[in-house]
């Protein structure tokens, strides 16, 4: 993987002592971290395989402090790495060695909830789940629900265009955010979107969402709230092989059903989860499907009946439907605990995030099985089957020489295969540092160059989160040359 290499493409020469002096004039002492022991906790995000000590960390308390920090960094040409709860899995918040980490953890106020307009205005450090909790008294909630929703922040969700398990019906972050207020790298205020459903000119809101902190630093967000369905029920189906489970997914869609959630777990994932949370999963199954229906009680009953028919016709060996809210939550608890459950089985794991057309699921799982043998590493699979987003969890031990590199190569092959199947290298976790080289598997140099021009339209000096998201053109060419004519045995057969 390319962390050192990618960061070294973007080096900055910053007078650290002078920068500290200027920042200490606009920030209280406890908001400016300069000593190594204080910086150490910030050296990585959720992708702990990548670590880098930042030059400095600042913890501004409000927008005016953020603006002051950005203006000073702009004068010093110091890179800026925004950081929320650092739950991201692609290294989007990994510090830059010459840069300032701007933690937005203290901007955590819910500024307004307007139940009539169904909106909430929040600061970027507000946790995803806190929005839904604050909206609950009005019968409303914030729909996107990444698995890390207890900890992850709305600012981070906007940066990554986070998804979750209910995207097929309720959309991604980009479908649930109305307005973003932020600052450009020179500290100028900008507002994307607005009070209505659209804004004049180019749809900059859509570009900023998912821009991984490379275009603007977000200081305030208006999210759209959704009425809570009266009832939700989940059907859980066991399959003796994954191909049938995949066919059941296609069958549900073909029947005209848009389930609130549609998730799949393979045998390894089931066996990781079940002893950990006792969700009640079938340990004999090769794959299980979770299919959720929500709405009015009549609506749910109608949809669950149709889903059950499809599942049974697709060869499910067992179909169970949650009979209480407690049971529904228990069924979901297993899925939501998949990552930590796998974490218990192995010293380290890498979480991949490719999206593929649903019909290629069984092919992909077979390929992963072969790759698992090739690299000598175990891999459990959880899958947002409704939207084709696959999370293979590659298990390794970083203390064994060479295992991280093998895990990374294994992951890269999965993602290259995702592209070959007509999908993408990242569905919801972002490119960050982790997949920056792999961008060249999905895009040509023309697109990469256009991305750099787009970035410069927002951030001309290139100070926001350098080295992430988009590879340099040189690196893009290198990748393409290196791969020319080399096709792995797995790829050749597909």
């Amino acid at each position: 993987m390319s962390f050192d290499a990618s960061a070294s493409d973007w080096r900055y020469s910053v007078d650290r002592a002078a920068l500290i002096q200027r920042l200490s004039a606009v920030l209280p002492a406890e908001s400016l971290l300069v000593d190594e022991e204080d910086l150490r906790p910030y050296e990585s995000d959720g992708l702990t395989a990548y670590r880098c000590l930042p030059s400095l960390v600042v913890l501004p308390a409000d927008e005016s402090q953020v603006r002051a920090v950005l203006r000073i960094c702009h004068q010093f040409r110091a890179p800026v790495v925004p950081r929320g709860a650092a739950t991201g899995l692609s290294g989007g918040a990994t510090p830059h060695p010459d840069g300032v980490v701007v933690s937005l953890a203290r901007l955590k106020k819910i500024l307004r909830i307007d139940p009539l307009a169904r909106t909430a205005v929040v600061q970027p450090g507000v946790r995803n789940l806190a929005v839904s909790e604050a909206a609950a008294p009005y019968g409303l909630y914030y729909a996107p629900d990444p698995s890390s929703q207890i900890a992850c922040t709305i600012g981070g969700n906007v940066a990554e265009n986070s998804g979750g398990v209910h995207c097929l019906k309720y959309g991604l972050t980009v479908h649930n955010v109305l307005r973003v207020r932020g600052l450009t790298s020179d500290g100028e205020e900008v507002e994307f979107g607005g009070g209505g459903l659209d804004a004049p000119g180019y749809d900059l809101l859509a570009v900023v969402i998912g821009s991984e902190g490379l275009l603007a630093l977000i200081t305030e967000i208006t999210v759209r709230l959704t009425p809570k369905p009266l009832l939700a029920q989940v059907a859980i189906a066991s399959f003796a092989d994954v191909r049938r489970a995949g066919e059941a997914v296609a069958g549900i869609i073909a029947a005209g059903i848009v389930p609130a959630g549609l998730e799949m777990m393979d045998r390894k994932a089931i066996h990781a989860v079940e002893p950990y949370v006792n969700a009640g999963y079938d340990l004999d199954a090769e794959a299980i499907l979770l299919c959720e229906a929500d709405g009015t009680p009549d609506e749910v009953a109608e949809e669950i009946a149709r889903v059950r028919t499809v599942l049974e016709n697709s060869g499910a060996s067992e179909v169970r439907v949650s009979v209480s809210e407690a049971e529904r939550l228990r069924f979901w608890a297993g899925r939501k605990a998949a990552f930590p459950a796998v974490g218990r089985m192995t010293p380290d794991y890498l979480c991949m995030d490719g999206t593929i057309p649903r019909k290629r699921l069984a092919d992909m799982l077979e390929a992963i099985e072969i790759l698992s043998t090739k690299y000598g590493l175990r891999c459990a699979n959880v899958f947002h089957a409704g939207d084709g987003n696959l999370h293979p969890l590659i298990m390794y031990d970083a203390n064994r020489p060479g295992e991280l590199d093998r895990a990374a190569a294994f992951g890269a092959e999965i993602l290259e295969l995702s592209v070959r199947f007509g999908g993408t290298i990242t569905g919801e976790h972002g490119v960050g540092l982790e997949k920056v080289d792999l961008m060249a598997a999905q895009f040509g140099c023309g697109e990469i160059a256009a991305f750099h021009r787009l970035k410069a339209a927002f951030d001309e000096p290139g100070l926001f989160n350098p080295g992430k998201g988009v590879p340099t053109l040189a690196r893009c060419r290198e990748y393409i040359l290196a791969r020319a004519g080399t096709t792995s045995s797995i790829l050749a057969n597909r």
Binding site: Y138, V190, L197, P229, E303, R358, G423
Partner: protein, 355 residues
């Protein structure tokens, strides 16, 4: 490369070299929309046809010259559609025009806009490069979201060649109801209903009558119909009514007076700016005529914006079609334009006068 694309690529490159401006034209159904363009027309509707459609993937990819009518027919065969209901405004309206104009119909407030359904785009830039962004899958965060940026960019960033869209099953049941109610009360009702789990898929208030469309599972539609207790429209009447709104053949839209579109927070009160037609649960309000400065001030006072949707060239030239941008946003717009069309070849002036 397709010979048509090669031809257009050459045309754009020679225009760039000669400092010539080109005006992109699909079927011409929406030429009325946007600012005043100048340049040599480039006809682009000939690149047509559906490239890939797999109903169980809920994704369709079409060449930009494909007509919306043909696309809708192909989707309907499999019981699917584009829930953003893009208006055609002409019999041969194209997929490329839909994306470039980014206009959405009655379903927008709940189903989402064109930008919410676009997944991928293949583009011929003002530099003559053929570039592909996004893809054919629903979750994809690799690279900046250029496909959504192209939605509504009015051909100023590139010539759209191919578009991939998310599609959905048509709702199983649909019912429209009508209620007599004043403007203020209608706005309150719509916002209150919006906060409840009701299957409202479209709404319009005009001259004391609120019409609401309910779509979804049969049980949910029936329950909502009972709850809202309005007079039910019969099926063909309802279909014709929503089509007339979407296509602006409704009486409100006839005549020569300038047509203004105000995009406002749904909770903004009655604007008292003249006869109005309110859609999208209060978020889209149409007006005929009125003082442009007053309309724009009223819209921005509540956090929205006003567009001169239809108007004569003199009025467009005098006041601009779209609400002016803040200085930092305008600067970003200009740089984006340069990023995709460095020589200013494509649709100069269609969005804002100076680029």
């Amino acid at each position: 490369m397709d010979p048509l694309i090669a031809e257009w690529q050459e045309r754009i490159r020679s225009a760039a070299a000669a400092g010539e401006r080109l005006v992109l034209r699909g079927s011409g159904s929406k030429t009325f929309y946007g600012g005043m363009v100048s340049g040599t027309p480039l006809e682009v509707a000939a690149y047509r046809g559906i490239i890939a459609y797999e109903p169980t993937e809920l994704v369709v990819t079409a060449r930009a010259g494909t007509t919306l009518r043909d696309l809708a027919a192909v989707l309907a065969e499999k019981g699917q559609w584009l829930p953003c209901e893009p208006p055609h405004f002409g019999p041969s309206a194209t997929v490329g025009g839909m994306l470039a104009c980014g206009l959405s119909g009655p379903g927008r407030a709940t189903a989402g806009a064109v930008r919410d359904f676009v997944l991928g785009v293949k583009l011929l830039t003002g530099n003559g490069e053929v570039l592909s962004f996004g893809g054919q899958v629903m979750k994809n965060v690799a690279g900046y979201d250029v496909p959504r940026l192209i939605a509504g960019s009015l051909g100023t960033l590139g010539l759209v060649l191919e578009v991939s869209m998310k599609v959905l099953p048509r709702p199983v049941a649909e019912k429209s109801i009508r209620l007599a109610v004043g403007e203020r009360e209608a706005l309150t009702w719509l916002n209150r209903w919006g906060g409840q789990p009701l299957p409202i898929s479209a709404s319009v208030w005009h001259q004391g009558v609120l019409t609401v469309r309910l779509s979804g599972a049969a049980a949910a539609v029936a329950a909502a119909q009972e709850k809202l207790a309005g007079e039910a429209l019969d099926e063909s009447e309802a279909a014709a009514f929503w089509w007339a709104l979407r296509e602006q053949t409704h009486d409100f839209f006839s005549g020569e007076a300038p047509l203004w579109r105000l995009s406002l927070p749904s909770v903004a009160g009655p604007q008292d700016l003249g006869t109005t037609l309110i859609e999208w649960g209060g978020a889209q309000r149409w007006l005929r005529g009125g003082d442009p400065a007053t309309l724009r001030a009223a819209a921005s006072a509540v956090g929205g914006h006003a567009t001169l949707f239809r108007g004569d060239p003199a009025l467009k030239a005098a006041i601009g079609v779209f609400q002016p941008l803040s200085a930092p946003l305008l600067r970003i717009h200009r740089r984006l334009k340069t990023a995709f069309d460095p020589h200013g070849v494509l649709n100069h002036g269609r969005l804002y006068p100076d680029f």
